[in-house]
Amino acid sequence: MSVYQSEDPLLQVHNVTRYYGDRIGCSDVSFDLWPGEVLAIVGESGSGKTTLLNCLSTRLAPTAGAIEYRMRDGAMRNLYQLSEAERRLLMRTDWGFVHQNAADGLRMNVSAGANVGERLMAVGDRHYGKIREKADDWLGRVEIASDRIDDDPRSFSGGMRQRLQIARNLVTHPRLVFMDEPTGGLDVSVQARLLDLLRRLVADLGLSVIIVTHDLAVARLLSHRIMVMRHGNVIEAGLTDQVLDDPREPYTQLLVSSILQV
């Protein structure tokens, strides 16, 4: 993994705060993310981790703070000063977003092949044969058999849908992928396969990932770094194994001690 090789951060988050009326969604969050780095945001439901993820991915405008992203040309741009068109292009080329519920990230009424090909067509690919070839290649990479390429995701199992969603996101070779509980709601054995697949793809493609999860085992397996959130604040952050093996904050200790041992 080449986490440290680049000197320039890919994403810089400065004091991001989001209020819902008087209620705090997330408060004063700052961090840098480097190319190839996987950052896990953990915490219970309502801790603000999904709010933060949505602010970072421009799906929810923060009340205060700034988020800068290094564009493919190397220039650092404030995400909320990009035009809508620029932001859309970013979201469908250089970024990915993997939803917990695959139906939120897929078009359930079009075929698996079209789901994967959509981003390609959106950026101007107009050769059916080549689009299909790429879709087929990506289905293979996420371990979906070629003969399912013309089937709707409605006929897929939960694990397959999630893998399809991943393929759909990665087809344009994004540099940053946001994931919101990507293994949530899946059977344990299905989870294990998905995690292993994600781990390999992330390493092979050198992806930067921000993953929201309440599952510390997922964080341990996938992430380099971890941020623990509670009541909208980041209460502890650091190397994943350090935070999990030597938690400092009372809440983190509670989280870690709450894991069931098998």
Binding site: M1, Y4, G238, L239, Q242, D245, D246, E249, L254
Partner: protein, 234 residues
């Protein structure tokens, strides 16, 4: 020989918030250095803090006090204050950790598990796998297992896979966390030879070894950790 690793006034305690904020002191004023080509063994009864010291050097535990200085190329990095990405870099390039327990990853074969750290350091996949196979052979892991994921291996086989993974790459500093525990005599001898080879390459090693024979064979110095016992009143 140049010093590779220097612990200066290192202290560590755990605060157990779930037990009413109870503070458990572990070690304090730890001070020693390890030179290139040297193997320093930490001695003392269990609970004395040997493992915690090793984990602090690897950045797995936080270092509360003092400095842990590691020579990485032209730089000297203080593990106690290193940024996470500096620490990850150190783990890829500079500090290796051999433990007896393998954290298995589903669906990855034994030879891939072993080769991974070497490939991460830039060796080609072919060469990495070749080296991995020769190490597995030296550690008497049956060839029929090489292509299988180690999750289903016996405890001893998993341990040897993990030792191979720990020794394969070129780390200037290597931490040995009871690598020979529960190994048979033949495999203990292999580990001793591996350590000797690392010494000859100038690797600085810190180890925890309960096995008296192995300790006598490979230790250049033994540091009694009880001398760093933290004052419970502090």
């Amino acid at each position: 020989m140049p010093v590779r690793l220097y612990l200066n006034n290192v202290g560590k305690s755990f605060t157990m918030h779930l037990q009413g904020g109870m503070v458990i002191p572990v070690v304090s004023n730890v001070e020693f250095s390890v030179a290139s080509g040297e193997c320093v063994v930490l001695g003392g009864p269990s609970g004395a803090g040997k493992s915690s010291i090793l984990k602090m050097i690897y950045g797995n535990y936080r270092c509360d006090e003092g400095q842990i200085l590691v020579t990485a190329g032209d730089e000297i990095i203080n593990v106690a204050t290193a940024e996470p990405r500096q620490m990850l870099s150190l783990r890829d390039r500079t500090i290796g950790y051999v433990s007896q327990f393998l954290r298995t990853i589903p669906r990855v074969s034994a030879e891939d598990v072993v080769a991974e750290p070497l490939i991460a350091q830039g060796t080609s996949e072919t060469e990495g796998l070749e080296t991995a196979r020769s190490l597995l052979a030296r550690l008497n892991v049956p060839e029929r297992l090489w292509k299988l994921p180690p999750a289903t291996f016996s405890g001893g086989e998993q341990q040897r896979v993990n030792i191979a993974r720990g020794f394969i790459a070129h780390y200037p500093v290597l931490l040995l966390d009871e690598p020979t525990a529960s190994l048979d005599a033949a495999n203990r001898a292999v580990v001793i030879r591996l350590v000797e080879e690392k010494k000859a390459q100038g690797v600085a090693m810190v180890g925890i070894l309960h096995d008296q024979d192995v300790r006598d064979e490979i230790a250049n110095r033994i540091i009694d950790v009880t001398s760093f016992a933290a004052d419970a009143a502090a």
